[in-house]
C-alpha cells in the first residue's frame, strides 16, 4: 500500500507545514522506516503541483527535527527516532488517547486542541539524563 500526502491549498496551515506534519506522523507511526528514501524535492513538488521551494522547506524542517537527513547520491532519507524507553510509552499513550477520543466521538481537531492545551498548561519537568559511562 502506498503512502500518500495531501496538501489543502485552501487551508490556513502553510503548505510546507502540512507536508512536514504528515511525513513526521508517518515516521513516528513507523509507516516510513529508518533509511527509507523520500521522493526528490522536484518530483514531489511536481506531483503536488506546488513550488519546489515549499517541499524543500518541509524537508529542511524534517531534517531540523531529526526525522530526515539528506545524503549525497541518496537524496533525503528517513531517520526514524529510536524506539524504546520513554518515547515508546508516549507513543502507546498517544494511541490510547486517540482510541478513547474516537470512542467518545471527539473530533481529530479537538484532540489536537486538547493535546496543545495540555502542553501549554502542564509545567515542563527537567529532562532525566542517563549517566555517562566513565572512560
Amino acid at each position: 500500500m502506498s503512502l500518500r500526502v495531501h496538501v489543502d491549498l485552501t487551508s490556513s496551515t502553510p503548505h510546507y507545514e502540512q507536508i512536514r506534519a504528515q511525513v513526521a506522523a508517518l515516521v513516528v507511526a513507523g509507516r516510513l522506516v529508518d533509511g527509507e528514501r523520500l521522493p526528490t524535492v522536484r518530483a514531489l513538488a511536481n506531483d503536488l503541483g506546488i513550488a519546489a521551494g515549499t517541499v524543500a522547506r518541509a524537508y529542511r524542517e524534517l531534517e531540523a527535527s531529526g526525522l530526515a537527513t539528506t545524503r549525497r547520491r541518496l537524496g533525503t532519507v528517513v531517520t526514524a527516532p529510536a524506539v524504546g524507553g520513554g518515547r515508546q510509552d508516549v507513543a502507546e499513550a498517544a494511541v490510547r488517547l486517540v482510541d478513547v477520543a474516537r470512542a467518545a466521538g471527539v473530533s481529530d481537531e479537538e484532540v489536537q486542541d486538547l493535546v496543545a492545551s495540555a502542553l501549554l498548561t502542564l509545567p515542563r519537568r527537567p529532562a532525566t539524563t542517563s549517566p555517562t559511562p566513565a572512560r
Binding site: 500518500r4 496538501v7 508517518l26 521522493p39 518530483a43 511536481n46 503536488l48 503541483g49
Partner: protein, 306 residues
C-alpha cells in the same frame, strides 16, 4: 522527379505514416480510468507521434537527399553531415519529447495528493533498452577510436606497396570521429535528461501508482527505442563505410601485379559488412517492436482499481 526520388518519397511517407498508425492504435487500446488519465494518455501519445515523425523524416530525408537528390538542393551534402544526420534527428526527437514532458498536465484542484514513492530513471527506462543503447554507443565510440588510430589521414587509409599508394577513402579518421563522438556524448546526455523529466513529471491523478508508472515506462521505452535506432543506424553506416574502404584497400594495385591484393583484408571487409547489416536490422527491429508488456500492466492495474 526521377523514379528513384519518387520511390524515396513514398518510402519516407510510409515510414512516417506507419509509426503514426501504431501510436494511434496504441492510444486507443489503453483503458483510461479517469478523465485526468485520458488527458495524460493523450498528452503522452501526441509528442511521441510527432517525435517519431521528426526522427524518421530526419533520417530518411538525408537518405533521400544522398541517394536521389532534391531538386531544390542541387548540392549533395558532405560526408560528415550525412554521418551526423541520425544523431541530429535523434536530438530533434528528444527535443520534441522534452517539450511534451515540460508541458505535461499539472495537478489542479484545491486538495492535491501525491505518493511518497521515489522514481528514478531506472524505474522509467526498461533495462534491456538502456543496455542496448549504451552498447550501440560504446561500440560506435570504440569503432571511431579504432578508425582514428589506424587512419593515415583525416579521412583516408593508405597502403604503400613498392612506392605506390593504394588509397581507401572515405575512412573513419578524425574528420568523422570528432563530430560523431561529440554527437554521441551529447545524445546520451540529452537522453538521460529527458528520461529524468519523464521520472519527475507530475503523477496522473485518479489512477493507481502502477498505471502512472506504466505510462512513464511506455514513454521511456519509446524514447530509448528512438535513440538506439539513431545510434544503430550511425554504427551500421560507419561499419558499412569501413567495409567499403577496406575492400578498396584490399584490391590489387592496378599498376602492379595481382599479387598485391590482400585477401585477409578482403575477408575482414566482408565480415564488417555482415556486422553492419546485422546492426542495422537489429536496431530497426527493436525500434519497430511494440512494447506489449506495458499496456498489459496498465490494463491489469486498471482492473485492480476497478
Amino acid at each position: 522527379m526521377s523514379i528513384a526520388a519518387w520511390s524515396a518519397l513514398v518510402l519516407a511517407l510510409l515510414a512516417v505514416l506507419a509509426p503514426l498508425a501504431v501510436l494511434v492504435h496504441d492510444h486507443r487500446r489503453t483503458v483510461a480510468p479517469s478523465t485526468e488519465a485520458a488527458r495524460a494518455l493523450r498528452h503522452a501519445t501526441l509528442p511521441a507521434a510527432v517525435a517519431t515523425a521528426v526522427l524518421l523524416l530526419g533520417v530518411l530525408g538525408v537518405a533521400t537527399w544522398v541517394t536521389a537528390g532534391v531538386p531544390a538542393l542541387p548540392v549533395r551534402p558532405d560526408g560528415r553531415a550525412v554521418a551526423c544526420a541520425p544523431i541530429a534527428a535523434a536530438l530533434a526527437f528528444l527535443l520534441v519529447h522534452a517539450v511534451g514532458e515540460l508541458t505535461y498536465p499539472r495537478p489542479s484542484g484545491d486538495v492535491r495528493t501525491a505518493d511518497l514513492t521515489t522514481r528514478t530513471v531506472a524505474d522509467v527506462a526498461p533495462r534491456p533498452l538502456r543496455v542496448l543503447t549504451w552498447s550501440w554507443a560504446g561500440a560506435l565510440v570504440t569503432l571511431l577510436a579504432a578508425g582514428t588510430l589506424t587512419a593515415t589521414g583525416p579521412r583516408h587509409l593508405d597502403r604503400v606497396v613498392d612506392g605506390w599508394i593504394s588509397r581507401g577513402t572515405p575512412y573513419l579518421g578524425s574528420w568523422y570521429a570528432v563530430p560523431l563522438t561529440v554527437g554521441v556524448v551529447v545524445l546520451l546526455a540529452a537522453t538521460a535528461g529527458v528520461l529524468h523529466l519523464v521520472a519527475t513529471r507530475p503523477a496522473v491523478g485518479g489512477v493507481g501508482p502502477g498505471w502512472d508508472l506504466a505510462l512513464r515506462r511506455r514513454t521511456g521505452a519509446r524514447i530509448l527505442r528512438g535513440v538506439q535506432l539513431a545510434l544503430a543506424l550511425t554504427l551500421a553506416g560507419a561499419l558499412l563505410m569501413t567495409s567499403w574502404t577496406l575492400h578498396r584497400v584490399a584490391e590489387p594495385i592496378p599498376t602492379l601485379t595481382p599479387a598485391t591484393a590482400v585477401p585477409e583484408v578482403a575477408v575482414l571487409a566482408q565480415l564488417v559488412l555482415v556486422v553492419a547489416v546485422s546492426v542495422g536490422v537489429a536496431g530497426t527491429a527493436v525500434a519497430l517492436r511494440r512494447g506489449a508488456a506495458h499496456p498489459r500492466t496498465v490494463t491489469a492495474d486498471v482492473a485492480a482499481v476497478a
